[in-house]
């Protein structure tokens, strides 16, 4: 198990190096001169030259790459060209919204999907199963921003339980902040939970038709015992895969929901910095998201090995 974890860790490190190289090449090298790109076509030559030296473009590419990576390792992501603030600081602020929001949504979606999927699978073909399948079909089909706006109309405008948007910050207390994130988290969780429920159900149904379930029944286990003791753990692999993918998506894909609820998250940051051609911010945020995805994949790999002893090699 330890050797497996170390090997996954090694592959994580390699993936990070490769990803950083690709991002560096795509952003700094391929489109030509980043300074003139950032300033647009009408820029004065001396402004471009000033930016070039500020970005450190006059040294070699290798030196720039090493400086970039070295800086990131120290938590120094450079200074935003547009906002004139430390990129690390900007990302840090946004991260305190996006990360809890993603975790919140993921927790909700898992809490819904596990019971719903198990219930539907254990009562295959029943009214419960049909109901779960119908609701999840709807959950996948309804656009989450539209659902978000309906929730705002109901809970914020009509019932006035929560505010319609914005974020008070964690420094003003845990509960107000969590409250502000609740509607966005539900909106994000709805389609994810629907997908996860369906995956859970079909994976469990596949497992329930395996030979070893018949063996378990022949031992004297009843249906429910066979499901909980033998089917569930075997059915988890595809579910874990989807959870990993969903977390990665939630980190950056929440942009529309962030827009609806006026949340200054990572999604908005990357959107704004792309529109204002702030390559320094884009580069760092993309690298950070890649880092998050790779770490999540590493965690999913470890979870696989925990579930299935055949993978612990």
């Amino acid at each position: 198990m330890l050797r497996y974890a170390l090997r996954r860790l090694l592959s994580l490190a390699v993936s990070l190096v490769v990803a950083s190289l690709v991002i560096f090449l795509v952003i700094e090298v391929i489109p030509g001169d980043p300074a003139s790109y950032m300033l647009g076509i009408n820029a004065q030559p001396d402004t471009v030259a000033a930016l070039r030296s500020e970005l450190g473009l006059d040294v070699s590419k290798t030196a720039r790459y090493l400086a970039w990576v070295g800086g990131m390792l120290h938590g120094d992501f450079g200074t935003s060209y547009t906002y004139r603030t430390e990129v690390a600081e900007m990302i840090g602020e946004r991260m305190w919204i996006s990360l809890p929001l993603a975790l919140y949504a993921l927790t909700l979606s898992t809490l819904i999907a596990f019971p719903a999927g198990i219930l539907a699978a254990s009562r295959r073909g029943s009214a419960t199963d049909l109901g779960v399948m119908g609701v999840t079909q709807l959950g996948v089909a309804v656009p989450n921003f539209w659902f978000a706006m309906l929730m705002v109309l109901l809970f914020a405008v009509k019932l006035r339980w929560v505010s319609a948007g914005g974020f008070p910050g964690w420094e003003n207390g845990f509960w107000p902040a969590l409250r502000a994130l609740t509607l966005p988290a539900i909106a994000l969780a709805l389609p994810q939970a629907s997908i996860l429920t369906r995956v859970m159900r079909s994976s469990l149904l596949d497992t329930l038709s395996e030979d070893f379930i018949r063996t378990a029944r022949a031992k004297g286990l009843n249906r429910r015992q066979a499901l909980w003791r033998h089917a569930l753990r075997n059915a988890l692999i595809p579910v874990l895969t989807i959870i990993g993918l969903q977390f990665s998506f939630l980190m950056a894909g929440a942009i529309i929901i962030e827009q609806v609820f006026f949340l200054p998250g990572i999604g908005r940051l990357i959107f704004q910095s792309i529109s204002s051609r702030d390559l320094i911010v884009v580069e760092s945020v993309v690298m950070l998201l890649v880092f998050a995805v790779i770490v999540v994949n590493f965690a999913v790999d470890l979870a696989y090995a925990w579930v299935d002893p055949r993978l612990r090699r």
Binding site: E210, R214, T215, A218, G220, H230, D308
Partner: protein, 535 residues
């Protein structure tokens, strides 16, 4: 007093009758074999006794186990009986165990749910059960996972689970069908010993008359949901009053009239010192163990029109060798040629040679795309030709191939699910024949078939060999399959050919100890004359 008494058992699934009035008894310490071909209802009988009939099944009649009427028992009552008073062993040991739990825990579970034993006590009794199933704890610790065991060892774990609570009745559904012959012999001996020591009754479901004749006290022969004949083994086999029993017996020992072997040698396939390695298992962070040699210095020849058997147990390298001959994989060293041309060049199968050879696999259903019609399926090998026939020529080729295998040209428009297992194997042979190859590789091609169908397919192969001067390479784990259908046989063990020679000679006077072990382990049909004289 019988332990199990089945009376007039009728089972239908969604209104379709499956069992039509079964009467069967098993006494304590008695081995009763239920035999018959696929679809006869043998397994359904076993599941009815376990109370594990599929959804939509309706059972009438009576199944009495001791004093309990199974058909009237509630689900909680049945859960108390299963695993406790009746144990069951299944056909597929590779999938019968939960891959994510340790073997000790899986055996202990039976004990914990029935005997209410503590964790430690159940674990101790599980170790004892594993030892009785001949998996001694010092060599096979209870902490092993199923994937760390071989097929035979996994079957012992399933047996340990079934006998842990010393049930009155053990049901074994084709327990050795998926195993090699030497392992089969060991598992059969184990079952026999357990019946003797524990006084259990054993209800054994098997399609194999040879297994039955050496093991069972009584035999019931089933066909299409009915018991056509039953009685004490010797008596039943000596008289065989029902024609179906006679047909089964004869088909099991079917002698094929192969056309004579070619006398003028014309080498077709030639293997010289072929070696193939697989990468070893991972070790350390990035290292690997030394490679595993799957095929080790194999040399042999097949002449045009010759039938050769390649026999060995699972893992001996015969499948790897088959893939190499087909040009699917590169080899490490040595050469494989057909008519002097290599089968694999420049990282690809050599098309010029590949069209001289075709293959038929064990599972006819799995080797066809279910969404294509037969015409398209059997034309697949045409991609090996430089100018495949079109239009009328193509239709003529399809009709000829289907006729040659005993089907009709009209079958070309059907889908594969519309055919029986034997017909599917005929279609697989038609697909092989359509480009007029000189050599057909038959990879366990008759292993999954019922004996009567197997006899027909072997007859067909004999006929085709004579008609088209076809050479065959029969690849099988079972020496008895190649008996009578091959001119020569090669015995493979751990990647090496350990013995080869004319089939009759190798089977009568085996020289290598491994060949002898294979022959001894193979269950044999009894000599009827001796049975009749003795009985």
């Amino acid at each position: 007093m019988s332990l199990l008494a089945i009376q007039d058992l009728r089972v239908s699934i969604h209104g379709q009758p499956i069992l039509k009035g079964i009467d069967l008894t098993v006494a304590p310490g008695e081995i009763v074999a239920v035999t018959g071909e696929s679809g006869s209802g043998k397994s359904m009988t076993a599941y009815a006794v376990m109370g594990l009939l599929p959804q939509g099944a309706e059972a009438r009649g009576s199944i009495r186990l001791g004093g309990t009427e199974i058909l009237a028992a509630s689900e909680p009552e049945l859960c108390q009986i299963r695993g406790n008073r009746v144990g069951m062993v299944f056909q597929e040991p590779m999938t019968a165990l939960n891959p994510v739990h340790r073997i000790g825990d899986q055996v202990a579970e039976t004990i914990r749910i029935h005997a209410g034993a503590s964790r430690a006590e159940a674990a101790a009794r599980a170790r004892d059960a594993l030892a009785r199933a001949e998996l001694p704890p010092d060599r096979f610790p209870a902490s092993r996972y199923p994937h760390e065991l071989s097929g035979g060892q996994r079957q012992r774990v399933v047996i340990a689970m079934a006998i842990a609570l010393r049930p009155d009745l053990l049901i074994a559904d084709e327990p050795t069908t998926a195993l090699d012959v030497t392992t089969q012999a060991q598992i059969l001996r184990l079952l026999q010993r357990l019946v003797e020591t524990d006084g259990m009754g054993l209800l054994m479901i098997t399609h194999d008359l040879a297994v039955v004749s050496g093991l069972a006290d009584r035999i019931a022969v089933m066909r299409a949901g009915e018991v056509v004949e039953q009685g004490p083994t010797r008596q039943l086999l000596a008289h065989m009053s029902h024609p179906y029993t006679r047909m089964l017996f004869e088909a099991s020992d079917h002698a094929v009239a192969m056309p004579p072997a070619p006398d003028s040698p014309a080498p077709l396939l030639e293997l010289r010192d072929v070696t193939r390695d697989y990468p070893g298992p991972r070790r350390g962070l990035i290292g690997r163990a030394p490679p595993i040699r799957a095929v080790d210095g194999v040399s042999f020849r097949i002449q045009a029109g010759e039938r050769v058997g390649l026999v060995g147990e699972s893992g001996c390298g015969k499948s790897t060798l088959t893939r190499a001959i087909l040009g699917l994989d590169p080899i490490r060293s040595g050469s494989i040629t057909i008519d002097g041309q290599p089968v694999f060049i420049d990282h690809h199968a050599n098309r010029a040679v590949r069209r001289k050879m075709q293959v038929v696999f064990q599972d006819p259903y799995g080797s066809f795309n279910p969404r294509h019609r037969v015409a398209r399926l059997i034309c697949e090998p045409f991609h090996l030709l430089d100018s495949p026939p079109q239009g009328a020529a193509r239709r003529a080729a399809i009709a000829e191939a289907l006729t040659a295998v005993g089907l009709s040209p009209e079958d070309a428009g059907k889908y594969i699910h519309q055919f029986s297992g034997g017909q599917r194997q005929r279609i697989a042979i038609a697909r092989a024949l359509i480009i007029k190859p000189e050599l057909i590789l038959l990879d366990e091609a008759v292993s999954a078939l019922d004996v009567s169908v197997r006899a027909q397919i072997l007859d067909l192969l004999a006929d085709l060999s004579g008609r088209y001067n076809l050479a065959y390479l029969f690849i099988s784990h079972d020496l008895s399959v190649v008996r009578g259908v091959t001119d020569r046989v090669l015995v493979m063990q751990r990647g090496k050919i350990v013995e080869q020679g004319p089939t009759a000679q190798v089977l009568e006077h085996p020289e290598h100890p491994y060949t002898r072990a294979l022959l001894e382990a193979a269950p044999r049909l009894p000599d009827l004359d001796m049975l009749r004289a003795g009985g």
